[in-house]
């Protein structure tokens, strides 16, 4: 039954918010829904939260993201993107209609409500949060990620509970690789496409035969991105890995790791850390003189990194990303998205917000095309691979591994003196088509599993 209104915040515990609009009507009709089955439900057995979750006048989306911990800043941004998308879906905004042409208001005429919970980037918390959204709110959709460890855990939950999961930011190859599931979909770029995209740029910029040092967070995201990067650079550029410093997520100090990197004789310092870990390790790398001797590369760009670290350290730094607002001159939907987002939140969107917005817009399109919330039908609708418009041009889902085929954007940090505005942190060097950057669908061991 749809949760009515209510605002409660408690740390580490459950943070939950239900949209307020139309709550009275929603609660009333959802209450009556237990006794009313749509005609088409008769020939299909109940699965997951279907049909209970979508038999009222609203459907519920469960969101879990880190609002505390080292990925808190990025998590909040992703939630903002998701909230804007839901608002737009419910109001039938022009941007949503450009991505999902059949959308009028809501999805199949139903209002979308949502709840938010904090997972601190911990997989157990993420699974608990979403499990409660499923049992208490009959969530028809879950979204989580920011840490790939959470995204992978939710993939497994999604497949078990038969509720579709849209990954938020998740850079690990595993999310649509060995840990892919029938019920999971990913929008953003990942280790493999990051490496294949930025690799040639790095070899061209720095030359062949360079010595590389890596600083790698110790979980699936870090390991797979590091492997993809070193595989590409060592094979195609004749580079060598002189050290790979594996550090824990949320380390309070990076001095010992950075000393090893300083002493490694590397030419290039590839920092795979993310969130506050990236901010702190880059600032400390500066303190230890690492950035004077080695060129910094951020293979998998971190939203807000340049804002927090500043142009003095990020000037000239190469990175690959899913989205940067500076592409708006060539992509009309990017311009619309930037305008809508900055109007609501007062700053230009980063790629985490773009990811969650587009995920929800593409879900709206898939459900509208399926004409039903019945999960196997929605999944099959996704798997048709329909080409759709987006902020980064035309995109489509790959049916074999549920990965969105989308461009990778190569950017280079601007020096503080070259910035034309206070949010002008990155120069867009290239927008690379996604398809050629991707591995074969089965290369990372993806087996999607069953529909039912």
């Amino acid at each position: 039954m749809a949760k009515s209104s209510g605002n409660s915040t408690s740390r580490r515990g459950f943070l939950q918010r239900a949209a307020v609009t139309g709550a009275g009507l929603g609660a009333f009709s959802a209450g009556g829904a237990q006794f009313f089955m749509p005609a088409f439900a008769a020939d299909k057995p109940a699965i997951g939260t279907w049909p209970a979750g979508s038999s009222g006048s609203s459907v519920f989306v469960g969101l879990t993201a880190p609002r505390t911990g080292t990925y808190a800043v990025q998590g909040e941004d992703e939630l903002k993107g998701a909230q804007l998308a839901i608002e737009h879906i419910n109001s039938g905004n022009a941007l949503i209609k450009a991505i999902s042409p059949k959308t009028t208001k809501g999805i199949l005429g139903k209002e979308v409500k949502y709840g938010i919970a904090d997972d601190g980037a911990k997989p157990n918390n993420g699974v608990q949060n979403i499990s409660r959204f499923i049992s208490e709110n009959k969530a028809v959709l879950m979204m989580g990620g920011t840490s790939s460890a959470v995204a992978v855990a939710l993939n497994k939950l999604a497949q078990r509970e038969k509720v579709i999961h849209l990954a938020m930011v998740s850079g690990s190859n595993d999310t649509t690789g060995k840990d892919c599931v029938r019920y999971g979909f990913r929008e953003c770029f990942y280790g493999q496409t990051a490496a294949a995209g930025i690799g040639p740029v790095l070899v061209k910029a720095f030359g062949k035969g360079k010595k590389a040092a890596y600083l790698t967070p110790d979980y699936t995201y870090g390991h797979t991105v590091q492997k993809s990067m070193s595989d590409y650079l060592n094979k195609e550029g004749g580079w060598s890995t002189v050290t790979n410093q594996v550090c824990p997520l949320g380390a309070p100090d990076y001095s010992s790791f950075l000393l090893n990197i300083a002493n490694s004789g590397a030419d290039i310092f590839l920092n795979i850390n993310w969130g506050h870990d990236a901010v702190l390790s880059i600032q400390q790398a500066k303190q230890f003189g690492v950035l004077d001797k080695q060129k910094l590369v951020v293979p998998y760009q971190v939203p807000f990194l340049a804002r927090e670290v500043g142009g003095d350290l990020m000037g000239g730094v190469y990175a690959s990303t899913s989205y940067w607002w500076g592409i708006e001159d060539k992509y009309p939907l990017a311009k619309m998205f930037n305008a809508e987002f900055s109007k609501k939140y007062g700053y230009m969107p980063e790629w985490g917000a773009q990811c969650t917005y587009l995920q929800l817009a593409l879900w709206a399109a898939a459900v509208e095309d399926a004409g039903s919330f019945y999960p196997p039908d929605v999944i099959k609708s996704y798997e048709k691979g329909t080409k759709r418009q987006s902020m980064v041009g035309e995109v489509h889902f790959r049916p074999e591994d549920h990965q969105l085929v989308r461009p990778v954007i190569i950017v280079r940090g601007k020096k503080a003196a070259d910035m034309k505005g206070k949010e002008d942190y990155w120069d867009v060097l290239e927008v690379l088509p996604g398809e050629p950057l991707m591995q074969k669908p089965d290369e990372f061991g993806c087996k999607l599993g069953d529909y039912t």
């Binding site: 911990g69 808190a72 550090c247 010992s256 000393l259 300083a262 702190l280 303190q287």
Partner: protein, 291 residues
């Protein structure tokens, strides 16, 4: 990646890291030793010191004023905390004390998050201590070298207060046997308030001194708190020299392990703690185990 140059630089870095940990831990251990209260809000107070100093720095641009503000603010906070809340928990079971200090830490962290957000804040090192110093065998951030000096002075002051003043004598007597001190007609409650203030001040002072090394986030204290506990357990709960020894040992473990296999740096820290607990349950310098 073993080379002698790397070993020397890691050992040196371990010393700096250890000095910082020693300072933070000393506040925690003094409070526990005297009051018997394990203050889980210590990390949050460390963080509050950083933010108070950050505010003072943005207002005045002065590093010295920032340090003074960070230390004094948290001292006052500590005294208020002791008088208003902690005092009522001395006679309550340990679980209650843990829960109330843990609760306070949540309140502090969320208050700071409410006012400052999660984006990190920077307090730059003072101009005279910024940049890199060549040590011969490596280049080292000048500010971290200055931090060692600051920590040594701060620990000496603490030592003087604890071992060379009347107050210190009472505090140490209180650690040994608080009932006896009480029966000698000394106002234990006033001493407790002063001790809590000093312990809190040590945390706040460490928080702002450490701020230019790590950029400030509301969680900066949580990450430090875990390490601080390990240091205190290794050194001996309630022992001031133990906190210093524990800090130095923890610094070396983190640095040297990370040279051999960085993935095991924190694992080794906990392994060392377990080993100490097995061989010497009261910690290396612990006088007696508490009931």
């Amino acid at each position: 990646m073993f080379t002698w140059a790397n070993l020397v630089s890691q050992m040196f870095n371990g010393l700096v890291l250890g000095a910082l940990l020693a300072l933070i831990s000393s506040g925690l251990t003094i409070i526990y030793g005297t009051l018997g209260v394990l203050n889980l809000a210590h990390g949050a107070m460390f963080m509050m010191g950083g933010y108070a100093g950050y505010l003072a720095f943005t207002a005045t641009g002065s590093y010295v004023l920032a340090v003074a503000a960070g230390a004094l603010f948290v001292m006052v906070l500590g005294v208020v905390m002791e008088r208003v809340i902690i005092r009522h928990f001395y006679s309550r079971p340990n679980e209650d004390q843990l829960l109330v200090t843990f609760g306070l830490s949540i309140v502090f962290v969320e208050l700071v998050r409410f006012f400052f957000g999660s984006l990190s804040r920077n307090v730059p090192p003072p101009a005279w201590a910024s940049g890199v110093t060549p040590l011969g065998f490596m280049l080292y951030p000048t500010y971290r070298l200055v931090v060692v000096g600051i920590v040594v002075v701060a620990l000496l002051v603490l030592y003087f207060v604890l071992y060379r003043t009347r107050l210190g004598m009472i505090v140490r007597a209180g650690i040994e046997d608080s009932t006896m001190v009480d029966s000698l007609g000394i106002n234990v409650f006033r001493v407790f308030m002063v001790v809590f203030g000093i312990g809190a001040m040590a945390a706040g002072f460490a928080g702002i001194v450490n701020a230019p090394v790590v950029s400030l986030t509301p969680e900066v204290g949580e990450m430090i708190l875990v390490q601080t506990f390990v240091v205190v357990v290794i050194g001996g709960v309630g022992s001031f020299p133990g906190a210093i020894l524990g800090g130095l040992i923890a610094g070396q473990i983190l640095s040297i392990t990370s040279m051999i296999n960085p993935g095991y740096a924190y694992v080794m820290l906990f392994a060392a703690m377990t080993l100490v607990l097995l061989v010497r349950p009261r910690g290396l310098m612990g006088l007696h185990s508490r009931d």
